[in-house]
Amino acid sequence: MKTLPAVDAVIVGGGWTGLLMAQQLASRTSMSVVVLERGAPRKTSDYLDNMDELDYAIRLRMMQDISKETVTFRHSERDRALPVRQYGSFLPGAGVGGAGEHWSGISYRYVPDSFDLLTKTKEKYGAKRLPEDHAIQDWGVSYAALEPHYTRTERLMGISGKAGNLNGKLIEGGNIYEGPRSEEYPTPPMKMPYLAALFRDATKSLGYHPYPLPAATTSQPYTNPDGVSRAGCSYCGYCERYGCMIGAKSQPTNTLMPLLAKRKNFTLRPGCWVKRVTVEDGQARAVTYIDAAGEEVFQPAGIVFLASWTLNNTRLLMLSKVADPHKNLGRNLTHQISIPAATVFMEKPLNRFIGAGSAGIAMNDFDADVFDHSNVPFLRGGHIYTVCYGFRPMANFGVMPPSQKAAWGSAWKKAALDAYDRTGRISFYGEHLSYKGNVMDLDPVYKDAQGDPLLRLTLDWRDNERNMAKFMAEKATGIARAMGAREVTPFPGLKSYDATRYQSTHIQGGAIMGASPESSVVNSYLQHWHANNLFVIGSSAFPQNPSGNPTLTAMALTYRAADAIVERYVKRPGSLV
């Protein structure tokens, strides 16, 4: 094993959160900062070649190499976990920029009451309404404390959208159910493809409050406060699962790397697979990794950051046997509910190959606690939306309206051709509460390519999710009728968690944040309670899954942690709370 000279900070993972932390430390301090990323380097000019559905959206060229490492999965501790052998319900990224290269860019803030979910729900509905084996807890940070960091992130990425609540003033046409924001979005909303326009008009006619999805696929050329300029989106439709060939979608490589590349105190080491963090006497000392040449390397560091995404962060803490006296590590595993609430078959062609990862319309009239839950069989909610991310022929040819029964042959072909460009989806993203039974630990049987145990997910839906999904599918079907759909397939219902159906890559928990070491792994600055120079950043910190997509919140928490480190920790190391 090779031992390298110590550095001030080592960051494991070169995705959105790892590179943001690197950028903050490298530009605001003189610390030497090393990012270890197990995937390959990437840049915008690589992405012209990726406009190919087969290699990118089906063979998943940008994702973590599943032949080397996957997870195992079971519904409950009574069941036997088996490996997820081919990707299904989520798609972990790998390579410089992480999943932030091939994300869709739908960029939500979480609603204010989601940060005090336990307190607020008890206050309003009483402790009796909480599901029996729930593990819901407050975050230890408030929306108000995060608001400036949300604004910073939106300006960093140039998010396109329309405010619905500007300093408490509600604005028609924006999301009136969002928390108060201090600033309008930095760029105007995206243009709307036809299906999204139909959804907008139908929801409006039903008295709902549609608004354009907040989009990191920036609607027009934009220069951010750091001076980084990007092009405007051209709606090419090769967006979700692809990198953007013109740099319009905000990605770590086009938004953060241009700044980092100029810093002499920053080093990026691609191809480096971190296996362990060494923690002794309550201090992180070093990380051990296998480098691109296959050699084992010991890298001592003053501060260690894990930014390797939810599952890898949790697994690295487990493999490294970092102190966990209150048995908090691995709990509160959640996966945002994501369902095709209604599949619609329209009369007119939709030209659905046109689109962008976050070009769409949503409505939050059934989100969070914006409607009264006294008489519905579930808590919380989510947003009903339609996004036109670019219809892919291989994935969508053969999606049939309910009236068509043929599965192959001439009749099938004719019906499939007829349905093809008339098919659209009304989707639903919903809140996933945390439960004591939904957890991660190390698998006793299956190993990765290095011989280390795989992470085992024990995960299933409860009635809260099933009842919510049913309610939303009914609402979406009503919207579909109002859109003039000639046929509709409502979502058949959530039964048990299905690792084969793509949901979203929004999995949270494992190293959750909170107000005390008894109930959490990290504090609200993402600092480990039992090693104050170890920070675990990203959505592994979320105690449960609010309805929106996670990245903006993960970034806002990273900014907040970076401020505390730069302004306080480097001067006086120790606990930040």
Partner: protein
Amino acid sequence: MKRRQFLTVSAATVGGALVYTLDRRPYVVSAQDKPVRVPLRFFTEAEALDVAAAAARILPNDEAGPGANEAGVVIYIDRQLAGPYGRDRYRYTQGPFENGIPEQGYQGKATPREIYREGVRKIAGIAKLAAAEQDATLKQIETTSFFTLVKTHTIEGMFCDPMHGGNIDMIGWQLIGFPGPRMTYFEEVDSHYGNPFRPKPQSLRQIVGRPVKASEDEA
């Protein structure tokens, strides 16, 4: 050494055919007009003909337009099976292999290559049968994982970028009005509401102006 196997794809049939289109107007689909002799990478010629026959019953050439044979679907499948996909490069293949529940996904040990080798044996000679008999043969294997794979691969071979061997002359894309990769729709995104917008398809190679490396050609 194994004798090199070839498949002759005759595709002269579809040039100028009237097809049923998305905008419900008659539409002329163009296709390659000369038969092509294609070296096979995985199948024997007999296997290729049988798989091609199965694919052509799933997506037939009919009054609605060209089908799997005209698009060269079997060439696509042959290359996929010969490449990393065929030997399960994109799957976690460490044991032990156990039977799971459907929500845990495919747990089998068999690679796509093995599933095909085994599956084609069950429909051996199908290429020589009449259409109705071919359908009857396929009906019998309709619920097997082999049939599911053939159907998935038929759709893939019909609508993939031509660099993968299928969708010859972008015949599949013409059929569904898909333009393939394209740099911009900035003007078109909100100016064709309710009307079909059907630009002439272009392949990735035409867009980037040089060949692009396909996954099946990787190690």
